[in-house]
C-alpha cells in the first residue's frame, strides 16, 4: 500500500508542480497574485475538450495547441489589462480577479454549467512492486517531467531566463543592466499561462471538465506556493511534490476536508511566522 501511496503522490505531485510553477513565477517577477491562474488551467482543459474531444485531433497536438491558446490569452490579458496597473499592489491583484470572473463566465456561456468528460487517450496499467500505475497518469507525469526540464533549462541557460531571474531579484538593478522589465513581465506571464494551460490540457482526460474546475486548482497552487515560498521555483517544485505525497497519504488514510483545513492552517502559520516559505527569499 505504501508504494501505491507514494506512486500516486508523485504522479499528482508532478502535475501540481507544473500548476504551481506558473503561479510562483508571476509572483516572483511581477509581484502579483494571479487569481486567474486556475482559469488558464481551465482554458487548457477546455481547448483539449474542443480539439481532442469534439474535433478528434491527436491528443498531443491538442495539448500543445491548448497550451499555446492559453499563453496567447495570457499575453493579451497582460498587455492590455495588467500592465497599466502593475505599479500598485492591489489593483493588479483585483484585476486578475476580474479576469478570473470573466473567463469563468465566458466558459459558462460557451459550454454551460455542467461538467463533461472525454475519453482517455491511453488505457491500462502497469505494475511497480505492489502498486498499479495507470498508463495515462504515467504519460502525464512524464510530460510534466519534460516540461519541467524545458522550463528549468529556459531559466538557467537562456538569456530570457537569466533576465527573468534578474528582474525577480532586483527590478531596478536589472533595468540598469538594460533589461526591460515590461518585456520580461509579458514573457513571464505568457509562460505562466502556458504552463497552466498545459497542465489543464494534460489532466483533461483524467478529471471532469467544467467552468468551475479552476477553483480547486488555484487553491492547491496557492497552498503549494506559500509552502515553497512565493516567487521560488525550487520551492514550487518541493512544495508540489510534498503536497502531492501528503494528499495521497491523507486521502488513503483519513478525511479529505480535514486535510484541506490542515493545509490552510499551515498556510496561515507560514504567512505569520515565515512568509518566505520553505525556500523563498524575502520579498521587498
Amino acid at each position: 500500500m505504501i508504494t501505491q501511496i507514494i506512486v500516486n503522490g508523485l504522479l499528482s505531485g508532478l502535475v501540481y508542480v507544473i500548476m504551481a510553477l506558473g503561479f510562483t513565477l508571476v509572483f516572483g517577477i511581477m509581484r502579483v497574485v494571479n487569481f486567474a491562474h486556475g482559469e488558464f488551467y481551465m482554458v487548457g482543459a477546455m481547448a483539449v475538450l474542443l480539439f481532442y474531444g469534439y474535433l478528434g485531433w491527436p491528443f498531443f497536438v491538442a495539448v500543445a495547441t491548448a497550451g499555446i491558446i492559453s499563453a496567447l490569452i495570457g499575453l493579451i490579458v497582460e498587455r492590455l489589462l495588467l500592465r497599466p496597473l502593475l505599479s500598485e499592489e492591489m489593483p493588479g491583484m483585483i484585476m486578475t480577479l476580474a479576469v478570473a470572473i470573466t473567463l469563468q463566465s465566458a466558459a459558462l456561456l460557451i459550454v454551460g454549467p455542467s461538467e463533461q468528460g472525454i475519453s482517455r487517450p491511453f488505457g491500462g496499467t502497469w505494475t511497480l512492486l505492489d502498486a498499479r500505475v495507470p498508463w495515462d497518469r504515467t504519460i502525464v507525469a512524464l510530460c510534466a517531467l519534460v516540461i519541467l526540464a524545458g522550463f528549468y533549462s529556459l531559466l538557467k541557460f537562456t538569456p530570457v531566463g537569466l533576465a527573468m531571474q534578474a528582474v525577480a531579484q532586483d527590478r531596478e538593478t536589472a533595468s540598469l543592466m538594460g533589461i526591460e522589465s515590461k518585456r520580461i513581465y509579458a514573457v513571464a506571464f505568457g509562460i505562466s499561462c502556458l504552463l497552466a494551460g498545459l497542465a489543464g490540457a494534460l489532466m483533461a482526460p483524467i478529471y471532469p471538465i467544467g467552468p468551475y474546475m479552476g477553483e480547486i486548482v488555484i487553491m492547491k497552487a496557492f497552498v503549494i506556493v506559500i509552502l515553497g515560498g512565493l516567487g521560488s521555483v525550487p520551492g514550487a517544485m518541493l512544495g508540489g511534490l510534498l503536497i502531492g505525497l501528503c494528499e495521497s497519504a491523507v486521502a488513503t488514510l483519513l478525511n479529505p476536508t480535514a486535510a484541506l483545513i490542515a493545509s490552510f492552517g499551515i498556510v496561515l502559520v507560514i504567512i505569520i511566522f515565515r512568509p518566505t516559505g520553505l525556500m523563498g527569499r524575502a520579498v521587498r
Binding site: 509581484r31 497574485v33 489589462l81 497599466p84 496597473l85 499592489e89 492591489m90 489593483p91 491583484m93 483585483i94 484585476m95 480577479l97 476580474a98 479576469v99 478570473a100 470572473i101 470573466t102 473567463l103 469563468q104 463566465s105 465566458a106 459558462l108 456561456l109 454549467p113 477553483e215 487553491m219 496557492f222 506559500i226 476536508t257 480535514a258 484541506l260 483545513i261 490552510f264 492552517g265 498556510v267 496561515l268 504567512i271 505569520i272 512568509p275
Partner: protein, 308 residues
Amino acid sequence: MKSRYVILAVAVLAVVPWILDNRYFFHIATMATIMIPLAISMNLMLKIGQLSLAQGAFMGLGGYGAALLTMRLGVPPMVSLLTGGLIAAVVAAVFGPIFLRIKGTYFVLLTFSFGEIVNLIMQDWISLTGGNSGLYGIPKFSIFGFRLTAISHYYAMGLIFTAISFGVLWAIERSDIGAIFQSLNENEMVTRSLGGNAIAWRIAAFVLSALIAGIAGGFYAFYLGLLTPDAFGMRTLVDLIVMNTIGGPASVIGPMLGAILIVPLPELLREARQYQLLIYGISLGVFLMFFRQGLVGLLRLDKPGDRP
C-alpha cells in the same frame, strides 16, 4: 456634488418598496440592507489600506452563532443577533493582533486562508451547522414578543441596521479617526513617529468591521430562515469587492452605492445567471482601469478631507 444629496436620495429610494408594496421589491431591498453593511465593513478595512477577505468568515460566525444560540439554547433573537456579532468581534480581537502585523498582499492571502478555514469548518462540523445541506428552520425574528412575519418588517429592521452602520462609519470617516486612518495610509512612519498607535487602530478597525459583518450575518440567518456555508464564501467576497470598486473605496458612500447597484442584479438576471458573472467581471475590470475612484469619484462627491 455634496454627499448629503446622495444620502438623501438613497433615503428617498429606501421608501420606494413601501410605495410599490411588492414582495419582490421588498426582498431585493432587504437583501440590500444586508449587503450594504457588509460592503461597508470591507470598506472600513480598505480605509486602513488592507483588503480583508475575512468578512465572509465573520458574517458566517455571526450568522451561525445567532441562529444556533436561538435554536439550540432558546436565546431571544435580538440578544443572539447581537451576540453573534460579538462572537465575530471577539474572534477578530483575538486574531487581529497577529494578523494585522502583516500587510499588503500577504494580508489578503492570510485573511483568505482564514476565511477558507472557517468555511471548511462550517462545512465539516455537520452536527453543529448541518454542513453543506444547510441549517434549516431558523425561527422568525421577534423583539419583545412581537414576531416579525411580514417581509416589510424585516425590511424595516434591515433599514435600521443599515442606517446605524452607515451612520457610524460616516461619522468615523469625517472625524479625526478618519484623518488618522488617512495619515496611517499616506505615511505610516511619520504617523507613528508622532505617537500614532498603528496596530491598535488597525485592530480596532478589524474588530468593528467584524462586528458589523457578524450582525449582518445574523440578520441574514433570521431573514432567510436557513444558512449554508457557501453564502459566506468567495462568491460573497467577490460581490463585496465589486461593490467597493464600482462604488469607490474613498468614501463609505461608495460601497453603499455599489451595493444598491449590484444587489438587484441576480434578481433581474435570474433567467440569465451566466450574464451576471460576465457583467461583474467586465465592470470590475473597467472600473479598475478607468474609474479607479468609482462612482464616488465620478459624481465628484466631496470627501472627508475637504475643508470648507
